[in-house]
């Protein structure tokens, strides 16, 4: 049976369970409010039908049980209609009314499709009263005390950050849920770290020819050439020039090439009074990428 709110209240009154004070408290406009709310609820009737079978799930007050009127009390101050205390949601809705909170909440009326009950009477009335201070939207059936609200805010923050991560990590779109995404993220981080290790191995293989030649060089020589350059750039040509000396075959040619490269860097640097890091690194990059330079690095 799908009673409307008003009908149910009337029925209650007939059963003399609800004191006539109830309507007094509501006032005449209260009735109007109830009607308005009821019409709003009635718009959801289609969804109501669909959800009818959900009424007994998750402890919501089912319609059948809503007719147990024996223990209905009407607390005039708090407008609580208490049913059997076993029901968890009842307890929660009691809390809603009983506690005076600084953060007022408003139940989402559309989630009332879970089951109409007598509690909706008291809730709708309390909704009407509390509409002035809306800070947080509490869903129906959830506790609205401070701790759980804080918990929920924290959880939302976390999910927001997970969404950020989802954009960064490729291939995260297919997986849903926190656990799966966490696994994806962990896999990605691990793969990146393995890549770093692999590349450093490669680098160590490619570079050994350079290293033992640095001892032969006197660092003073090079520092004298590049004193006006910032340190980073001066180091780089040292790295490059180190390879030139042991070369027997292409020695002079390469050295001249290196020199020309370095002179280009020098000239470009001297032209600019204030050179940013980006420009320096550009030169470094170009140095690395040009074939002429890279050929120095590989010895046969």
């Amino acid at each position: 049976m799908d009673l409307s709110v008003l009908e149910r209240v009337n029925w209650l009154q007939q059963q003399q369970m609800v004191s006539p004070d109830f309507f007094e408290i509501l006032g005449s406009d209260g009735r109007e409010e109830l009607k308005r709310v009821e019409s709003y609820l009635g718009n959801n009737n289609d969804e109501m039908q669909g959800f009818r079978h959900y009424e007994t799930i998750d402890g919501c007050i089912s319609r059948t049980s809503s007719f147990q009127m024996e223990q209905v009390k009407n607390n005039e101050e708090n407008r609580v209609i208490a049913l059997q205390p076993k029901r968890k949601t009842e307890g929660k809705t009691e809390k809603i009314e009983n506690k005076k909170k600084k953060i007022k909440t408003e139940d989402e009326t559309e989630s009332s499709m879970k089951g109409k009950s007598n509690m909706s009477n008291s809730e709708t009335s309390s909704e009407i009263q509390k509409r002035d201070y809306i800070h947080v939207r509490a869903r129906r059936g959830e506790a609205t005390d401070r701790h759980s609200l804080a918990e929920r805010a924290r959880r939302e923050k976390l999910s927001k950050k997970m969404k950020c991560l989802q954009d960064i990590v490729p291939g995260c779109n297919k997986v849903t849920g926190k656990a799966g995404m966490l696994d994806e993220i962990i896999n990605y981080v691990q793969s990146l770290q393995q890549q770093v290790e692999f590349l450093s191995m490669k680098l160590s293989v490619l570079n050994p020819e350079l290293e033992f030649h640095i001892n032969e060089l006197s660092t003073k020589q090079f520092q004298a050439c590049f004193t006006d350059l910032p340190e980073a750039v001066s180091k780089q040509p040292m790295m490059v020039d180190a390879s030139s000396f042991p070369l027997q075959q292409h020695g002079s040619l390469d050295y001249s090439l290196i020199n020309s490269n370095q002179t280009t860097i020098l000239s470009s640097q001297k032209d600019q009074t204030s050179s940013s890091w980006e420009i320096h690194s550009q030169c470094l990059y170009n140095n690395l990428r040009t074939d002429s330079v890279s050929s120095f690095f590989s010895h046969k």
């Binding site: 953060i103 800070h135 947080v136 609200l149 804080a150 805010a153 924290r154 923050k157 976390l158 927001k160 950050k161 997970m162 950020c164 991560l165 960064i168 990590v169 926190k178 966490l182 993220i185 962990i186 990605y188 981080v189 691990q190 990146l192 770290q193 890549q195 770093v196 290790e197 590349l199 450093s200 191995m201 490669k202 680098l203 160590s204 293989v205 490619l206 570079n207 050994p208 290293e211 033992f212 640095i214 001892n215 660092t219 980073a232 180091k235 780089q236 040292m238 790295m239 890091w277 980006e278 320096h280 690194s281 470094l284 990059y285 690395l288 990428r289 074939d291 890279s294 690095f297 590989s298």
Partner: protein, 153 residues
Amino acid sequence: MASADKPINTDVPEKDVFALHFLQSLSNLRRQNAFNSPDDTTNNRVKKIKKAAYVSMARAAGGTNRLWSRALLRRAAKENNKVVIFSRRKKRVTWLRRSNRRDPVDAERLRNLLPGGGAMETSKLMEETAHYIKCLSMQVKVMQCLVDGLSAK
């Protein structure tokens, strides 16, 4: 409670900054004598390069502004028996808060992966992970370019 969160900032500097720092640390490595000794096995060299890569990445990406970079630098300095002095941050590390709140979503594996992850709250962990992933991918790109440049003939 329903406060507007600040936009999450996961900006990472350009590739060039990473490249610069990495090359700097590499050349530093080459200056050291230990690198040249013949008893240096491949493993040691690899480890040194790897450590240089991470340290340079930490310096390039966050310096001391990010938790993970601080933890990385501190760890590296400890291995070298150096003492690292960090400038005092405004917010204190939330040791106490974390011990009080045992999250059911215990991202323990992630904490183990991320440097300095053991001391963060879960939400902060996610932020740091995002930044760390970005920096790692940038570092990988830089190293790849370097390897390509070196190996190309």
